[in-house]
Symmetry: C2
Subunit: 312 residues, 2 copies
């Protein structure tokens, strides 16, 4: 019986890889560059070579492997098919487990990276002990992964959990990266917070620490912690949008808990002071006791979740 | 091995009951009144007596029954526990399968009535052949039931699929029945359409057939079919709200299909002319090819779905 699994998290710049034991402990972690030339055709061969090298280094045979889990940025169905073009990698649709399995003949599973990260947080992170959760990644964009009864909610075409693109603001004039206007991602991501800050700072001349130096999600929440009134207003707006959006998510899937991760979540639990009151205001009564907790695995959520696809 | 199942749909006024064979054909259907006195304590005993009478009439023994499925209006978890007070029946929390099983010792399952109806539409109705769907009931309110990979999405506290209470309008002054303001139900239900009609008719004096007689969802869509310009504007507003709300639902659970039922759906496929364009405008690209179809089981969806909990 296999003793190990690999978790592979393919990003636009690097591929993160972890070697895990059956209990879900990471025994080793490393990265390789993501080579996107030729429609990303060398990405999986590079991954396979890196895994084979590691197996040789550690004296691990194929019979010692339970399998390999893969997370990648794209719409991936429950059979590991990439169902539409993955723009960040250059990939056109294909079956990921079959393609990787052609190099290393062990069981392979694949999932969308945000969904894999959600699975990782449930398995070994902030969501441990829960089986119905929504993981929210507040990074450059707003990603989501939904776990229902312990399984990833993939959706019909891999679009499950795309909560960053919930429509939340009718009055928005700027376009989201997806082409729509007024998506949650335009306000609750790191770039969204900068947008809210820019608009607030332009509105009047109220003094604020944010008027000096670069404005980022980090500087906004640092200023909030220092009691900066303008920063607090920006955080309130952020909280209003995110709380409203997550209340709508709760009316659909009614999770036990929201697990909040991504760069913005480095601000810590102070985030919840702004999000939870808005959530309470907008949530359907039966969903109001949904808990908010911080993600724990950081950038490793993806490799944990990918390995968890195989081991859990 | 059992040959039959009962499907029981408990409503605020009547209890609908069906006797089904293993293939899901309704062999008999009838109703009994819902007696809500004494916190609804006689509802389940009345149901049990009606089932026992029917078994006697048909010569069906307990050994011939696969079981009994029950749908009821309230937050019901996957184990059949009513988790909060069911105001329409007067019920306080209890375990429905145990309570009914105390009268007839066969397997009993219970689910929220809207979820059961969604399950029925998947099993024997408009959603047959699909295993990822959202059933939308446009009646006095807006109900929803979500099926993921063939199973009801119950949610952590039975609040899964409460899509009528998605927040959709910041500018609403009137309160929804749930206490919030701007819920989807305030615009897309039968009463919501009347609200939109009233507001439109008060806005100016444009001639309309709707200015004579009672305004209802039916008269609005009858006038739409007759080319009434004001009625078309009302239907467009309805479509804008419902399309926007369902686009947000699609960004969360990405179903294959929306199955639209309830009294408002009697208007027929003309509804989709108003809902689909708005849905397309607001939907995340990966979710735009979600289909819209009409429910088929009408008021029987609940008994089919309840029986399906046992038979499917």
């Amino acid at each position: 019986m296999g003793k190990y699994a690999f978790g592979v998290d393919i990003g636009g710049t690097t591929v993160k890889i972890g070697l895990f034991d059956r209990e879900g402990c990471a025994l080793d972690k490393w990265e390789i560059p993501t080579v996107k030339d030729n429609e990303g055709s060398s990405i999986l061969p590079d991954v396979a070579q890196s895994l084979l090298d590691k197996m040789k280094e550690k004296g691990i045979g194929r019979e010692d492997l339970v399998g390999i889990g893969v997370g990648a940025p794209g719409a991936i169905d429950r059979n590991g098919n990439l169902v539409s073009r993955a723009v960040n990698l250059g990939w056109n649709p294909f079956n990921i487990p079959k393609a990787l399995g052609a190099y290393i003949d062990v069981p392979v599973k694949a999932a969308n990276d945000a969904n894999a990260a959600a699975f990782g947080e449930m398995w070994q992170g902030g969501g441990k002990g829960f089986s119905n959760l929504v993981a929210v990644t507040l990074g450059t964009g707003v990603g989501g992964g939904i776990i229902v009864d312990g399984n990833i909610l993939t959706g019909a075409s891999g679009g499950g959990g795309e909560i960053g693109h919930i429509h939340i603001e009718d009055a928005e004039a700027e376009s989201c990266g997806c082409g729509k206007k007024g998506c949650l991602e335009q306000y609750a991501s790191a770039t969204g917070i900068v947008r809210l800050a820019r608009r607030r700072l332009e509105k009047d001349d109220t003094p604020s620490a944010l008027r000096e130096g670069e404005v980022s999600a980090r500087t906004v929440f640092d200023a909030v912690k220092a009691g900066d009134r303008v920063a607090v207003e920006i955080a309130e707006q952020f909280g209003e949008y995110l709380g409203k959006g997550l209340a709508n998510v709760a009316s659909v899937v009614n999770p036990e808990v929201f697990v909040i991760g991504g760069g913005v979540s480095k601000a810590g639990e102070i985030l919840f002071q702004f999000v939870e009151p808005a959530f309470q205001r907008y949530a359907f009564p039966a969903c109001r006791n949904t808990a908010f907790i911080l993600a724990k695995l950081g950038n490793d959520a993806g490799i944990y979740g990918a390995a968890g696809l195989i081991l859990n």
